[in-house]
């Protein structure tokens, strides 16, 4: 021990001081250890803190990124879902566009908000937008309040306004609704109108699906309708030509899938432009095809004959009925012209005889005809997903003999052309009535339908309808190769408030289906008050104005809808042709 002390550098130190120094060292060492431990703890705390901070940051970034992605998704979704046709052609889309706003605060200061005089600016604006009214614009500019001058401005127009050099004229980008096809199918699609809660749909699908189109979760995905824009275009085009040719006040048309009730095209002319909702507040918005009820006349005769065949009242088509006018309950039932002494059922349809149809209906009885009409949905509003659904004028109570007879040839019961379309679909598709729809029908979930006629009756009616086009009043609808079958109807319009029929005002209708050997589509064309013109050989009846429209329309839409013309194929009517003497009628 002693020999160690010199190495510590204190050889002569007594034992006590040595003990004290050792204690001192021990103390120092303990304190150092404590200090080190505390520092270590601080360092560990520091590390843990930073580690936690880093993790927190990473976590925050993770959640933040999710929120960011969500925001972007919302930014990319349109404010209102798109509406397309069955092939994805956009019919209505949300579209950010410029509006024109007058903001008097833009220049600041207390002087005039405009650089030029309000008169000059108003004149320049009216030059750029000819539909603006000078006085109205001037009043808005002079009022000195922030107002919208115009809801939609095209980029070129915006440039022209910019060139005026007025800072108070601003172009805020606002979500707008744009209908690229213009007035095409305007009655089906509808338009938007601004109210306190924003833009909302008026009429048509825009109104029906307003909530769905605005739904945040689903507005990114477009709504597909059953319409085909090409068929719709062709229908409107041919209908417009027919209206122009006959100086009619308007017209309507439907192309309906006979098997599942899909509406391929639905037109009501004259139409309106949904891009200008400010101009849409007029009677053009009224849908003649699904909202206006008409006595559709002779187009109802096939329903009567089918009901009679179905009920076993007409079993032999060769049986002849007298075709001389007769009186019932004070009314004379007569034909448009003398059709000879007697007619059988096929001839009665071909020549469109009221007298024979009324006799058949009388044999059938009012109750059965009424039941058939109810089964065809003629007593309720038409089934379609828009609000424009006309209520039929349905004869109340039990039908008298006279009512039964008049209804049998399409008078005394007013329905919409859409009723007629769904009825004809049931007539030709094997006898099943299905509601019309504006949405695509999944082939696996076609509505079962309601049986109105037996399949055999439907087959017979297909033959008869084809005969009417081959030999009868529908000749001008006989598009080569498309095996069109159908029935004309020219009904006088009843005067206002149930007054007498107006002899000079007709509703000319042609209800058709094609191809008759396996009907796929029903086509209804209706003209409101057509006039006899050079184009229609001076005639006003459906055979001369509505039937030719179908004859021109079917070759245009057939191939698009998957029906190719074939001159070597037709429905077999050879068992009926011996019963028919050719001729014309209405």
């Amino acid at each position: 021990m002693t020999d160690i002390s010199p190495t510590l550098g204190a050889p002569n130190l007594p034992a006590h001081p040595a003990t004290t120094g050792r204690l001192h060292f021990a103390d120092l060492r303990q304190r150092s250890v404590e200090t080190a431990r505390s520092r270590l703890i601080w360092v560990v705390i520091g590390f843990v803190f930073f580690a936690l901070t880093a993790f927190a940051r990473i976590g925050q970034l993770g959640f933040g990124a999710a929120a960011l992605a969500h925001d972007d998704g919302a930014a990319m979704a349109p404010p209102r879902a798109e509406i397309t046709d069955r092939n994805g052609v956009p019919l209505a889309r949300a579209f950010p566009g410029y509006a024109l706003r007058f903001n008097p605060e833009a220049l600041g200061g207390s002087g005039s908000p405009l650089v030029k005089t309000p008169e000059e600016v108003a004149r320049a604006l009216v030059q750029i937008f000819p539909d603006l009214v000078y006085g109205v614009v001037l009043d808005k500019l002079k009022a000195g309040e922030a107002t919208e001058l115009r809801g939609r401005v095209l980029p070129e127009q915006a440039n022209a306004v910019q060139a005026l050099g007025e800072p108070a004229l601003e172009f805020p980008i606002v979500p707008q609704r744009f209908y690229p096809q213009g007035s095409l199918a305007a009655h089906v699609i509808g338009y938007l109108e601004a109210d306190k809660t924003g833009l909302h749909g008026k009429i048509g699908i825009e109104e029906t699906l307003d909530a769905r189109l605005l739904d945040k979760a689903r507005r990114a995905e477009p709504v597909a309708l059953s319409l085909d824009a090409r068929a719709q275009g062709a229908l409107e085009d041919e209908l417009a030509r027919g209206i122009a040719d006959t100086h009619a006040t308007g017209g309507g048309g439907i192309v309906l899938d006979a098997d599942n009730g899909e509406i391929i095209a639905l037109a009501s002319l004259p139409s309106f432009d949904p891009n200008r909702p400010d101009l849409a507040l007029n009677r053009l918005v009224f849908n003649r095809t699904s909202n206006q009820v008409y006595e559709l006349g002779s187009t109802f005769k096939p329903f009567t004959i089918a009901a009679a065949i179905d009920a076993g009242v007409v079993t032999d088509l060769a049986v002849r009925y007298p075709a001389t006018p007769f009186k019932i309950a004070g009314r004379t039932i007569s034909d448009s012209h003398n059709l000879g002494a007697s007619l059988n059922v096929p001839e009665a349809l071909i020549h469109s005889s009221n007298i024979v149809t009324a006799q058949v209906a009388d044999k059938l009885g009012g109750q059965k005809l009424r039941d058939t009409m109810i089964a065809l949905g003629m007593n309720t509003r038409p089934p379609i997903e828009i609000s424009a659904r006309g209520k039929p004028l349905w004869p109340q109570g039990d039908w008298s003999r006279l009512t039964t007879m008049t209804v049998s040839y399409g008078h005394g019961l007013s329905v919409t052309p859409l009723h007629l379309a769904t009825g004809y679909a049931a007539l030709v598709n094997g006898g099943l009535w299905r509601p019309a729809t504006l949405f695509k029908v999944d082939p696996a979930h076609v509505p079962e339908g309601r049986r109105v006629f037996q399949a055999a009756t439907s087959a017979r009616m297909r033959q008869l309808l084809r005969l009417i086009v081959v030999d009868g009043t529908g000749k001008r609808a006989d598009a080569a190769g498309f095996r069109v079958g159908g029935k004309t109807g020219s009904a006088e319009i009843a005067g206002a408030h149930g007054g007498a029929y107006r002899k000079n005002a007709l509703i000319a209708t042609f209800a058709a289906a094609f191809p008759m050997d396996r009907p796929r589509y029903v086509v209804i064309v209706m003209l409101d008050e057509p006039q006899g013109t050079e184009a229609t050989s001076g005639q006003r009846t459906a055979a001369y104005n509505a039937a030719p429209i179908v004859g021109r329309l079917v070759p245009r839409i057939g191939p698009m809808l998957g029906v190719a013309p074939d001159r070597h194929r037709d429905i077999d009517v050879s068992d009926l042709t011996p019963l028919v003497a050719n001729g014309e009628g209405e």
Partner: protein, 233 residues
């Protein structure tokens, strides 16, 4: 002594801490930078989508049904094709083929089956309806054997339908099918085999006649046989 030993160690810890802090800060900056980049890209995507939407909508509006109708009325005058313009089958299409005019070069016929398949499809030997025994074709017995004429038995069918004969210089070449020919007016090309005679002129011929390949499939073997027989007599 202990202090001097511990000081560098704690300095080391502090340095490690500082480095960690610096790294976290750098990371945070980088993340922020990236995020703003993502934002910018998103904004660019939205802008481009809106531009696409705008252009698409403009296109749709300019090519709307009404506009197309207006153009058609003024410019094009297209009408819906009539029933006569639709064909049911290739047979109906083949009925439109023009018969060969006199003096026209022999059409290039391209076989659709390979040689083995053609050989397998060879006509069965003609059998006498009375005796049930095979009979010699009359033609074969009537005509003297000619080594210039190709054999007429069924096994040579592939050779015959795969042969092009040029009238002018009487050259012949074998053609190899490139692909089966089903619809006859479809343009077909044929490659001459290297071993064929008269390669050069045949190529010129091929160049001239590829567009005239027509469809008289039903009478093809008969005509070929007839043409082949002509110069041989």
């Amino acid at each position: 002594m202990t202090k001097s030993l511990h000081a560098p160690r704690s300095l080391g810890w502090i340095a490690a801490l500082m480095i960690g802090l610096a790294l976290v800060t750098v990371l945070a900056f980088r993340v922020n930078a990236l995020r703003s980049q993502v934002h910018k890209t998103d904004a660019a995507i939205i802008a481009l989508q809106q531009e696409t939407l705008y252009l698409e909508t403009e296109f749709e509006a300019r090519a709307s049904q009404h506009q197309l109708k207006a153009w058609n009325d003024v410019e094009f005058g297209f009408v819906a094709p009539g029933a006569a313009q639709y064909l049911d089958s290739e047979r109906q299409l083949a009925a439109f083929a023009k018969p060969a005019e006199p003096g026209a070069p022999a059409p290039v016929r391209v076989a659709s089956a390979d040689d083995d398949a053609a050989a397998a499809m060879a006509f069965p030997a003609m059998v006498s309806p009375l005796t049930g025994r095979p009979v010699e074709p009359v033609r074969a017995s009537a005509e003297p054997a000619d080594d210039a004429a190709p054999p007429r038995v069924g096994s040579a069918l592939a050779d015959r339908i795969g042969t092009v004969r040029h009238r002018a210089n009487d050259t012949e070449l074998a053609v190899k099918p490139k692909r089966p020919v089903h619809i006859a007016v479809a343009k077909t090309t044929a490659e001459p085999e290297p071993s064929a005679r008269g390669q050069h002129s045949a190529r010129t011929l091929l160049a001239n006649t590829t567009t005239h390949a027509r469809a008289e499939r039903t009478d093809a073997p008969a005509k070929t046989a007839h043409k082949d027989r002509g110069p041989a007599r």
